[in-house]
Amino acid sequence: MTLLRAEEIDKKFGGIHAVRNLNVSVDNGEIVGMIGPNGSGKTTFLNILSGIYRTDTGKVSFKNEDITKLPLHCIVEKGIARTFQNLRIFRNITVLENVLIGRHHLIKNSLLNVFFNPPLSRKIEKSAYLKAIEILELVNLEKQKNELARNLPYGKQRLLEIARALMAEPNLLLLDEPTAGMNPTEADALCDFLKELKAKNFALFVIEHNMKAIMSISDRIIVLNAGTKLKEGIPKDIQRDKQVQEIYLGKED
């Protein structure tokens, strides 16, 4: 079943045509990878999917609902959560507080409860806390839950960002270069983790530059070049494709 469908996505920034007429879909429980040289529009496209930019034309639908014009903060309620290329965790608060913010839209607490019914408020917050512990154990960060986010090693900060996204109980995770800055061991561990997520029926849309990683986890890969879809197919075919090799390595004379 198609979870996400992006049709005729087009985005210009002044003179720069970042994304041209792009059509992408992601099905339930599949991992779709997007690769392409720097500047090909991958992050722009992801930003459009997650509601940060609005596409000039076309439509984004999720679970058969049109989310094209949805404001940024409403996207996560629909079931899409994301991480950022340059890592946007909340640096000056603890790991636990970071993931709790990810749970924001699911914590059904109200101001009335906070001020007039503190015990109820505490109960609601407590259930969020328990979920946080569960997710933190999943990514192996439970022991560092009271550590300030900025003090974590880089690889764990990336995991934290994913954990924060998972707290929103999304159907689809948008990951922007999740292995960036990781050493091969960390990257492998992350790939295993992402495959575990797929087994738990999360759908993933992943932008990556790490070829080994993206080839090992993706069901399907989309190659973007200068804002347009150059190729789409299974990892094996993409790896062997001459055109894809050309855009990365240049033509053979």
Binding site: S50, G51, I52, L72, H73, C74, I75, V76, E77, A81, R82, F84, L87, R88, I89, F90, R91, N92, I93, E97, L100, I101, G102, R103, H104, H105, I107, N109, L111, V114, F115, P118, S121, R122, E125, A128, L148, R150, N151, P153, Y154, Q157, R164, A168, G181
Partner: protein
Amino acid sequence: MKKNKNIMAIILAVALSFLVPSIVKNYYWLGIFNLILMYSILGLSLNLIFGFTNLLSVGHAAFYGIGAYTTAILLTRYNFSFFPALILSGLVAVFFSLILSISTSRVRGDYFTVITIVFGEIFRLVMQNWVSFSNGAVGIVGIPAPQFFSWRIISEKDFYFLGLVIFWFTYITLNLLVNSKFGRAFIAIREDELAASAMGVHTVMYKILSFSIGVFYAGLAGSYYAVYNTAIAPSSFTLDESCLIIIMIVLGGIGNLTATIPGVIIMLVATEAFRPLYHYRLLMIGLIMVVLLVRYPYGILGIFNKITSMRKKYIYRKV
């Protein structure tokens, strides 16, 4: 569990604070405590707005003033009794704050700050010039003492108890707020507005909420001031008063409610100590502002600095 220890500590603190007047009989000292209580309310409320949500409001004194004038007018001209006036003072302050927060919701935070400054000045000028309403620069005098059933609140000791009640109300409710999803949303907005939004936080709404709630307490403080001082004038609600409150919370530590109180105490002591140098008052305030911030951008006793120094060995330089 940690929560229970905190509750015990607060109950103890509340109990002890009510016993203070039995030990301290000197009215001068009780007066100092009353000032500390009042400025703590102002500091705590501004801490919510600036310390937690990163909305730099330099017009807090204006909302304090709106609260004061609301109570003063309701009590002297419309024969209101104090406690309804107290609540109304908070609400009227919130009403005016909405003008600011809604109009600046689409612009950068820097604009918001200047708008708060301009608003503060406009408030002071209007109170100074609209003589038929506010009695101009002379201000409103003869504000009657509050009455709670048979208890007339007149002496320093009476005002201490009144101030204490409002203070604990402020402190406890703000603590409940910041330890909930709302507090975390405010902090998320402070740390990274875009990421907060991507996590589902309706940043515009929460900023307005934070500002409105903070301003409510400022209105309460103003109401207290009106009956405590029995007279109010525009000259009490100046820009440098707003700056003083900012220094208090930066000194104590932004983002940390309890740390506000030492900040308040230190600045009140400092302003008393430097009273003979009245001509240089603004110079000193300015110097403190600049030197303090250039050296300790997140406050001296503040939560950031404390943790920085404790965990220095774990800090990595992240790209």
